[in-house]
């Protein structure tokens, strides 16, 4: 068992490690539908510019990513691929579910082919409601996630996951 999992790291060192992790999130963007455009606006447009929060987009592969943002409709055909990419990410990994579709099926609640909520497939840390959520909402979600990482007990994370957060 490693030092981190055992929970034997002194407090100041944990703080420092969490501080480092929180400002160097490599974000893997998964944008299947409309919300992806708002996510791209949050990443790339000069008005929002997500990189100033210490989130680095466009890693070459999920194996280099700490954070995945699932923004858009996930259909039943797509869900296994989401699970597979999530499994390839190294721990500790975080998931933001963006938009009503990824949260619960959203406007396609009646549809025969849409997965009603991505949390059936992967565990979600932060939910961003809206159809589409504004880019500011995604920025808020990242800030909340960073707060969560700052206060995180890494040993506890190894044992089990906490409650998810909803941006309001």
């Amino acid at each position: 068992m490693g030092l981190v999992e055992s929970g034997k790291i002194p407090k100041p060192l944990t703080w420092l490690m969490n501080y480092g992790r929180k400002y160097s999130l490599w974000m893997f963007q998964w944008g299947p539908a409309c919300c992806a455009i708002e996510m791209a606006a949050a990443l790339a447009s000069p008005r929002y510019d997500m990189m100033r929060l210490g989130v680095i987009p466009f890693p070459a592969s999920p194996r280099q990513a700490d954070l995945i943002v699932i923004s858009g409709t996930i259909t039943d055909k797509m869900a296994p691929a989401v699970r597979r990419l999530w499994e390839q990410m190294p721990d500790p990994k975080y998931v933001i579910s963006m938009g009503a579709c990824a949260n619960c099926g959203g406007p396609y609640w009646d549809s025969y082919s849409v997965t009603k909520g991505i949390d059936q497939v992967v565990p979600v840390d932060v939910y961003v409601p809206g159809c589409p959520p504004r880019p500011e909402a995604l920025l808020e979600a990242v800030v909340i996630l960073q707060d969560m990482i700052q206060n995180e007990d890494m040993a506890a994370r190894w044992r089990g996951r906490g409650e998810p957060i909803v941006v309001s």
Binding site: A33, A40, A44, S45, R47, A81, P107, Y108, V114
Partner: protein
């Protein structure tokens, strides 16, 4: 002598003599002499790939780096919207269709509403028609800017992405002021629009008319003459005229091959016969032509927006037929009849005479049509959208075969499919 002996042989542990430079043959597939030498390589691109504009999956067969066969696999975003549309009344329908082609939402709404209006046989008041034209042309600009921005990113020009999104923000701010949402507006309803243009819209549009050309100059300087950009685009993804017509391509893909076809001019809807604009077409049918048409169409759309600004008529923004459009909010407090109309409209909707109709508009991607069948009820029996991305995607194979695998992203961003539009 066993098959493994050469691995254990003492002499083999020394490096074999090095071939001279002339003897090295790099084929790009396998090492010369290997048993897989002639096998093609199958590579899967997507469904998760930032350059496939969503969830397109391509199965490519490669010979070296040359693409020999390609097969698009779609359906990863099939949300069953056409089926859902059969369960929604005509009042609710626009909410559903606007999410199909999410880069140009207003066109979907107009296609849906004009089909319902054709079945109802109502004539829109002039202001409603001009509001539609104004908003649609602004949406065309924002859609083309998005496509230029993401197209630039696909090919490696991240600055193009920043410029494209900067200008697009101006437009989205205006859309938000008018419709309440940045996209997926649900602004156009059967019989007109949900609201009038807000006060002071003239100044906003005026500002857009000066801001966007400024930003376009930046994009123009950055891309049009850029040698790397030319290298990646010129002569890539060629398709000829006949094939494009036979495959049912429309919009930019068709116009880049030299077919001068634009529904706005050739089958005018709304009041497009009263505005002046040019249809841009090119003759080479490659990615660079599509890029240049896209740039030029933004200026043409700005021309139409300018004419809409000058000629916007006064009057109603929706038909004053209480069976189709809701009464003004103030009337509901005063009149019992208005209250009943409002209640009926939003609970069971209005009934549309039985019949079948097809209407089409020219969306930024091509011909966007809506076929609607009604049996006299308040919901369509069948609603089918003829979405341009789906048909344009068929021309992907002839464009990619024979080219390099690295050109795939350029070809895809040239066609600019929106997967929500393909899969519905």
């Amino acid at each position: 002598m066993s098959a493994l002996e050469h691995l254990t042989d003492e002499g083999r542990q020394k490096l074999p003599p090095r071939p001279t430079a002339q003897e090295i043959v790099v084929t790009g597939t396998n090492w010369p002499g290997s048993e897989f030498d002639d096998d093609p390589m199958i590579i899967n691109m997507g469904p998760q790939h930032p350059s496939t504009h969503g969830v397109l999956r391509l199965m490519c067969e490669l010979e070296g780096e040359t693409v020999t066969r390609v097969k698009p696999i779609i359906g990863y975003l099939h949300t069953g919207m056409e089926k859902t549309g059969e369960e929604l009344t005509f009042v609710q329908g626009a909410t559903n269709v606007t999410r199909m082609d999410y880069a140009s939402c207003l066109f979907n709404e107009v296609a849906f509403c004009s089909a319902a209006e054709a079945l109802l046989d109502i004539e829109l008041p002039p202001r409603a028609r001009w509001i539609r034209m104004l908003m649609m042309e602004l949406n065309r600009i924002s859609s083309h800017l998005l496509s230029l921005a993401t197209g630039g990113m696909d090919i490696g020009g991240l600055s193009a992405m920043i410029f494209g999104f900067r200008e697009r923000e101006y437009l989205l701010r205006f859309f938000e002021k008018v419709t309440g949402l940045r996209f997926n507006h649900n602004f156009f309803r059967v019989g007109g629009s949900a609201a009038d243009l807000p006060d002071g819209w003239q100044e906003d549009v005026d500002k857009l008319l000066t801001d966007i050309p400024k930003g376009m100059d930046d994009l123009d300087q950055l891309l049009t003459e850029n040698p790397i950009w030319l290298e990646r685009m010129v002569g890539v993804g060629m398709i000829d005229k006949e094939l494009a017509v036979n495959l049912g391509a429309s919009g930019l893909v068709l116009r880049s091959t030299g077919v001068d076809w634009d529904l706005r001019r050739d089958m005018p809807y709304l009041d497009y016969d009263q505005v002046e604009f040019d249809v841009i077409s090119a003759t080479n049918g490659d990615c660079y032509d599509r890029f240049r048409i896209r740039m030029a169409e933004i200026y043409e759309s700005l021309r139409i927006v300018k004419q809409c600004l000058e000629n916007m008529p006064d009057g109603d923004y929706r038909v004053q037929d209480r069976k189709v459009t809701p009464p003004p909010r103030a009337r509901i407090d005063e009149s019992m009849e208005a209250l009943i109309h409002h209640f009926k409209l939003f609970t069971e909707g209005f009934k549309i005479p039985a019949g079948q109709v097809y209407t089409a508009v020219e969306s930024p991607r091509g011909e966007l049509g809506c076929m609607m069948v009604s049996d006299g009820g308040s919901k369509p029996v069948r609603m089918h959208m003829r979405t341009p991305s789906f048909y344009n995607l068929q021309s992907l194979e002839p464009m990619m075969v024979g080219g390099m695998i690295a050109d795939a992203v350029a070809v895809i961003s040239g066609i600019d499919p929106v997967m929500g539009d393909v899969d519905r």
